[in-house]
């Protein structure tokens, strides 16, 4: 099977470690994934902001880059959703029957956890990650793709991990692409509640399948000095005991100690100011 990695523009330009983690993980599982260098972006930023004409050449670039592969795998629920649910719309808009056919004939695009569980049939990927983790199911992976409990099955098989349940997990974090800047205040209000729930879990690491959402929630957590870092699911699954340098070595933050020192109120205060400013 010829498998292509669609790394996504956000990961390519901002989070290359996530792409490297997918490569390491898939090689470990016997998949020699390739990176078609002609790829750029799934065109979702244009489509979701209403720029359909502008999305046409980007979708053309996408289908050209991945033509001839048996499967495309991507560490993003949102971009997989775009490829599966929006490219047809853009192709119809183009009025170009050749593009419509190219989109229809494109190889299937799988979100990473779908590829691991459904295509490779694995849930234990041999990962080791001795940290307290909470998982946020991103909206497009949850509701557009319906990945269900696949990420959870994968995480539960990670050795050393301590999984904490995230309250209100299925509620949107407020990122929403250009929504995050066009309606910044509302976006931050939503993200503040998500960040509060993350802190309530006492987790050291917030994990999700979309770095765009993590950039938003992580940006809020960082501004609050919350002592919680964000990490893409692929990086957790790529980490192994043998691959020691991949296991982050930062000391866990003792949230309980912070709470007893009264810091939570200060954080909460800063959070609400951030939400309403």
């Amino acid at each position: 099977m010829k498998v292509a990695l669609m790394v996504t523009c956000v990961n390519d330009a901002m989070f290359p470690d996530t792409g490297k983690a997918v490569v390491r993980l898939l090689r470990r599982l016997g998949v020699d994934v390739e990176f078609p260098a002609a790829q750029t972006c799934c065109a979702q930023p244009m489509v979701n902001t209403g720029y359909l004409d502008e999305a046409v050449p980007v979708v053309r670039t996408y289908v050209d880059a991945f033509a001839g592969y048996d499967a495309v795998v991507t560490p993003s629920g949102s971009c997989a959703g775009s490829a599966r649910h929006q490219h047809g719309l853009v192709a119809r808009r183009s009025g170009d029957p050749a593009l419509e056919k190219a989109v229809a004939d494109a190889p299937p695009t799988y979100e990473l956890t779908e590829f691991l569980v459904d295509v490779l049939g694995v849930t234990d990927v041999g990962a080791y990650f001795p940290h307290r983790v909470t998982y946020h199911p991103t909206c497009h992976s949850l509701r557009m793709l319906g990945v269900g409990d696949r990420p959870r099955q994968l995480l539960e098989s990670v050795r050393g991990i301590r999984l904490a349940e995230l309250p209100g997990a299925e509620e949107c974090c407020g990122f929403g692409g250009t929504f995050a800047v066009k309606n910044a205040e509302t976006s931050v209000a939503m993200g503040s509640d998500k960040a509060r729930h993350v802190r309530e879990t006492g987790a050291e690491v917030l994990v999700a399948g979309d770095n765009s959402c993590l950039m938003h929630i992580g940006g809020l957590l960082s501004r609050q000095q919350a002592g919680v870092r964000v990490m893409h699911l692929a990086e957790v699954l790529a980490a192994t005991e043998d691959d020691a340098e991949q296991v982050p070595t930062e000391r866990p933050v003792d949230l309980a100690a912070q709470q007893s020192a009264g810091r939570t109120d200060a954080i909460q205060h800063g959070l609400e100011q951030g939400a309403t400013s």
Binding site: N48, G50, G219
Partner: protein, 507 residues
Amino acid sequence: MSATFVGMPPFPTAARQALADTQLRHNLAHATGTIRAKRAKVVDEVEHWEDLRLAGAAVKARALADLETNLVRLEESLTAQGATVHWARDAAEACEVVARVARSHDVDEVVKVKSMATQEIELNEALQAQGIAAWETDLAELIVQLGDDLPSHILVPAIHRNRAEIREIFRSKMAGSGRPAPDDLTDEPAVLAGAARQHLREKFLRAKVAVSGANFAVAETGTLVVVESEGNGRMCLTLPEVLVSVVGIEKVVPTFAELDPLLRLLPRSSTGERMNPYTSMWTGVTPGDGPQEVHVVLVDNGRTRALADEVGRQALRCIRCSACLNVCPVYERTGGHAYGSVYPGPIGAILNPLMRGQGDPQVDSLPYASSLCGACFEVCPVRIDIPEVLVHLRSKVVDAHREDRVPKAEAVAMKSTAWAFTDARRLAAGERLSGLAGRVLTRVGKARLPGGRATAGRLPGPGAAWTGARDLPAPPRESFRAWWRRTDGGRSEGSGQPEQSEQKGGE
């Protein structure tokens, strides 16, 4: 009532005000949270809920696919049963019909059943201008009317008010329009409802003319249906001599049997009840029983415009349950007034632009008032794919500006981003520049994200919309594609730059 949505600012501005209203935030979080949980519980107990949704969507889709035939049939059935049918192209025509009926009976007041269509056409204001008082009898609508306020929710128009505020409104305003609130009024819900009951009863017993909407209108039989919780609607529909019902043309259902899935979907989706307490049905005039003069005003007011939109027409399936409002994280935080319409929330964000078209900055801002999280589609009882319609309407807003002589900054940004995304070499060049910036930021910047990666600091201009409240990571020194090329996809050590830990920002 002089409050109006006319002149409301675009959503981001209105939302900013709403977000700062702590009482509103608190009331809405509590109210939507409660109703969400109730809905989830009663939906979970229906074994074939998804099949029921499909059936409900199919009924409404059938009705809309042959709207003309169904409406003509409805008119024939109604006329045969002794009702008078009026057609109204817009709000002004619809209001005029109601005013004419009221004038013909020489009345200076009418009682009203809760109705979205009459709110939409601003009937109360139109009647007031002709010296006719329109009394809202639904408890929440009464609260809104007495408070000289605007509705903020389809089902619970006073959802933004808590019981302390309601007590204050009753104490200070009831006397101005009839029986005053009792002196010992408390904020206990039962006491507040009791005061409203006393206040309204005098109006029910006095009124000669009632005005209603309808949840459904059956073409086959000419039967109108009102679904409600309080019984005030039943009072209006049975006591007065004259009844005028203002009905949007999308309310038509071909046959009586097809009400079945809709009447099962609606209460569970809206109030979170298995069955609503009152379902009133009437078919024209029944001699000696109920109103002896029955009028039905069939209103377009933008619905045929919505119907002409191939993607958007599914919004006309809406049965006004408001499940999408209650589940929407944006609505929960901004409330209904921020949408500038009697139809707020996700359904309002598509219905208003579909019915009113593009060009008004307030209406044009609505399709963007969503993070596209998809929770609305998931709960919609008639399967309106609201995110799909939102994206479609965004493209109509963009298309309406394609001929602008001075393009918006957003359009310039999108066009240049698309240009870079059209050719990987252009993207790689951009990434080399951002990598350079990343190196500088990592060296000079002191702030670190949890985990150690450098931040991009506080950005100026449009970037401030992000960094005002959120840290942004500094770009990595090397993009993924550059790493792949340099190391042959990690198979070799490569040369020059370090491979690992760019995101962690360490030198």
